[in-house]
């Protein structure tokens, strides 16, 4: 049962990263779009799906609280300030979709909220990953740091990295969804984003060796994990090829695969730890009575329904946008 919920949690976090990742990326690219018509189309390309994407954040949080309350209490309190910033960002971003078109004079305000909200949310998430990889100070199952323990140069750098990654996925998404000037725009920014991502990955690897991250030992212990970075490399090569040929068919798939590879690398090197290297999934889990109570309703019915719902929405809105845009 513990394994089941750890798996559910992993899947919902991965889905969140993949799905909300690209629409946050679109938000980050928004101010650089050539003009209002393109911006409208950018919004149009994510408006049918963005809030469904964010559902996975709520599913992740609910699963974490229900199944792993120990980690829930540590992670949420450890990232106290950035988490509130992220929530504020996500709220502002969410209402911007609607208020932007209802506003008569305050459109710049909502646009700013949309862009800033996207950057803040992406940056905070990246920073959190960095800080967790580095290891949170935990003693006897309790958080032993203070409100700013998460902020190290390394974690902040990871925040920057995730911004680049999300922007990359965002441009892949736009390229696949659009034609004309907007498609040209995404192919213009893609090479720069890819180069930035490559630089980030190299630097982060050297940095990890430099500060002797514990996670590196895992890679020596578990050579099978090498498959994941290799997969990522193949996807990156696919990305390069697609951009050179200006073919957007597999663009998003390649971008997403890089993220999947990165996520499985990290998850594979942490397991069985949930917070490396201080708390295993078994130490963090709720008692069996809680987990099975959650399983018979939420696990068996609600999760499959939500998954099906997500698939249907993407199926309905597949393909290029019409010239009018979704709005």
């Amino acid at each position: 049962m513990v394994e089941f919920w750890a798996f559910v949690l992993g899947i919902s976090i991965l889905l969140y990263i993949l799905l909300d990742g690209f629409d946050l990326g679109v938000g980050m690219l928004f101010p650089f779009a050539p003009g209002e018509a393109e911006r409208r189309r950018m919004l149009g390309s994510i408006s049918p799906v963005w809030d469904g994407n964010e559902t996975w954040l709520v599913v992740s949080a609910a699963t974490l609280f229900g199944a792993f309350p120990a980690v829930f209490s540590i992670v949420l309190s450890a990232f106290y300030l950035p988490l509130f910033l992220m929530l504020a960002g996500l709220i502002l971003r969410g209402v911007a979709f609607e208020f932007r078109y209802k506003a008569t004079t305050s459109r710049p305000l909502w646009d700013a909220g949309f862009v800033v909200g996207s950057y803040v949310a992406a940056f905070v998430q990246g920073t959190a990953v960095g800080a967790i990889v580095q290891g949170l100070p935990i003693e006897n199952g309790l958080y032993a740091g203070h409100a700013l323990s998460w902020a190290s140069p390394f974690s902040l750098f990871c925040g920057l990295g995730l911004c680049i990654g999300y922007a990359l996925m965002g441009s892949c998404w736009i390229a696949g969804k659009s034609t004309g000037p907007l498609r040209d725009f995404s192919f213009r920014v893609l090479p720069a984003l890819m180069a930035a991502l490559l630089v980030f990955l190299v630097v982060v690897f050297i940095w990890s060796v430099e500060i002797r991250l514990q996670v590196l030992h895992r890679w020596i212990d578990r050579p099978a994990l090498l498959v994941c970075p290799l997969l990522g490399l193949v996807a990156f090569a696919g990305l390069v090829l697609s951009v050179r040929r200006r073919n957007e068919r597999f663009l998003f798939l390649c971008g997403a695969t890089i993220f999947i590879a990165a996520f499985t690398t990290l998850a594979g090197s942490f397991l069985p730890y949930m917070l490396p290297f201080s708390m295993t999934i078994w130490q963090a889990a709720s008692p069996p009575s809680s987990l099975s109570f959650l399983f018979w309703g939420a696990g068996l019915f609600v999760l499959p329904v939500t998954l099906a719902y997500t698939l249907i929405v993407y199926f309905v809105f597949r393909g290029k946008m019409t010239e009018e845009g979704e709005y």
């Binding site: 609910a62 019915f301 719902y309």
Partner: protein, 470 residues
């Protein structure tokens, strides 16, 4: 008073949850109201029900959106500000709140889409079914929240581990908790009454203005008649909740009653100014014997005073005392309005009773005030415990937070809420002012079911701006 992180966290939680509850209290009732209108339309075929339903659907959409957005912050606050609470009670509260968000997303969101964009795409009976499912979803959400809160009021079905973690041993004892079955109906009816008065007040407004009089009269009559039945039922459930508090939370009961010393027989205080410093009441007006009657249904029973409890186990007196009286006062005013209005509604006198219509129009906040003060009574009265008798609020907070940090996030949340809710309320007001317009083309272009605020034609004044691409 020193602004400790604990106090600031409590104020922050009280602020966000008070803000949040306004919207569910409204939407639970409105969902039922829409279902009722759809059923009337289906079975009688009268066009007016369809017009009313289309109109209130737009209001529902905005209120629902604001409720969802403000609810997300709630879920995270358990971990950020109350990490010890979530660590220790997580095995029980986590699954309960998990079910709440799962139900909300699965039922409400899916069928909400049909409500918003499916009017002409699904058969009428299926549309009614979708209304029913949304209504069921909002009620189920409320049910899980009430289960969770009732467990905090009256913890059952658990055992404690040595490090203070609550382990569930009997889920049926947790869910079918004695407190749930009076408090859940009390909350649901509160939501229905709140919405009924909003509907009636809107109707009275239109009748006073002389616009959409036919629709306005229908709203006022339906709202008031429903309230005429529900408010007495609500008072009955309120009494049952009071009995529960009397038996299981005697310190809270004493605070609500403003009773400092044990009394036998006890009198019931109607008006007073509790003076916590000197542990007595100023300006007290009370009815002898009534306190014993209300507390134990006898003329001679002994009722406990707040001084019978150790100082560290006493709740604050003033807030439960006043909040309770405001709640009951609102209830009685609503009862009077509902009964007078229903009586008037059986003839043509309602249209001419302008004074009554003005009173009804002004009554729209009463349900919200009663709901909020009811929650204040329940939650402040539970102090100093977060899980009654088991876990103190002071032990539940995140231990390492500083006042500056909590103040910062509080300011941030308050600013964001003020911004978006200012806009949202303005928007609801615009919709109400515009009134029911002959059935707008609701499904001209559907986009996304989960985006309540994007309902086409829902923006009088600037509607159509997006479509023409100006």
């Amino acid at each position: 008073m020193e602004l400790t992180p604990l106090l600031l966290s409590r104020i922050q939680f009280a602020f966000t949850i008070s803000f949040h509850i306004i919207f569910p209290a409204f939407t639970i009732g409105l969902a039922a109201w829409l279902t009722f209108l759809e059923a009337c339309h289906l079975f009688t075929g009268e066009r007016i029900y369809r017009r009313l339903s289309d109109f209130w659907l737009k209001i529902f959409a905005v209120a629902f959106g604001l409720g969802v957005v403000s609810g997300i912050v709630m879920a995270f606050q358990f971990g950020t500000n109350w990490s010890e609470l979530s660590r220790r009670t997580g095995p029980i509260q986590g699954p309960l709140l998990g079910y709440e968000s799962f139900t909300a997303f699965a039922l409400e969101a899916a069928f909400f889409g049909v409500l918003m964009f499916g009017r002409d795409r699904v058969p009428r009976w299926a549309y009614l079914g979708a209304c029913l499912m949304v209504s069921l979803g909002t009620s189920l959400s409320a049910f899980w929240i009430m289960v969770n809160n009732s467990w905090m009021q009256y913890p059952t079905g658990f055992s404690l581990t040595p490090d203070g973690v609550f382990v569930p041993t009997d889920w049926s004892a947790i869910i079918f908790n004695q407190a749930v079955w009076t408090r859940f109906p009390h909350m649901i009816i509160a939501a229905y009454v709140t919405s009924a008065f909003c509907v009636a007040a809107t109707g009275a407004w239109y009748m006073l203005r002389g616009t959409a009089v036919q629709e306005g009269r229908a709203m006022a009559v339906m709202g008031l008649r429903l309230a005429a039945i529900l408010v007495p039922v609500q008072l009955g459930f309120g009494h049952l909740v009071g009995d529960f508090v009397h038996d299981k939370q005697p310190a809270k009961f004493a605070a609500i009653e403003g009773r400092w010393n044990d009394q036998q027989p006890a009198s019931e205080i109607l008006v007073a100014w509790p003076d916590s410093e000197n542990e007595r009441n100023l300006f007290e007006i009370s009815v002898p014997y009534l306190g014993s009657v209300i507390g134990s249904m006898s003329l001679t029973s002994k009722e406990l005073g707040i001084k019978s409890f150790a100082p560290q186990d006493r709740p604050p007196v003033a807030i439960p005392f006043f909040a309770f009286r405001i709640m009951v006062g609102c209830g009685l005013v609503m009862l009077a309005l509902a009964w007078i209005g229903s009586w008037l509604s059986f003839s043509e006198r309602l249209l001419k009773a302008r004074l009554f219509l003005v009173a009804t129009f002004l009554s729209f906040p009463l349900g919200f005030i009663a709901t909020l003060t009811g929650w204040f009574t329940a939650e402040v009265g539970r102090q100093p415990w977060v899980v009654y008798g088991q876990l103190r609020t002071a032990e539940a907070a995140t231990p390492f937070l500083t006042s500056q940090e909590v103040a910062t996030t509080f300011a941030l949340v308050a600013a964001v809420y003020a911004l978006i809710f200012g806009f949202g309320v303005l928007y609801i007001y615009r919709l109400l002012r515009a009134g029911p317009i002959p059935a707008a083309a609701l499904s001209l272009y559907g986009t996304n079911p989960k985006r309540p605020l994007s309902i086409p034609g829902a923006s009088p004044g600037v509607s159509g701006a997006a479509k023409t691409g100006e």
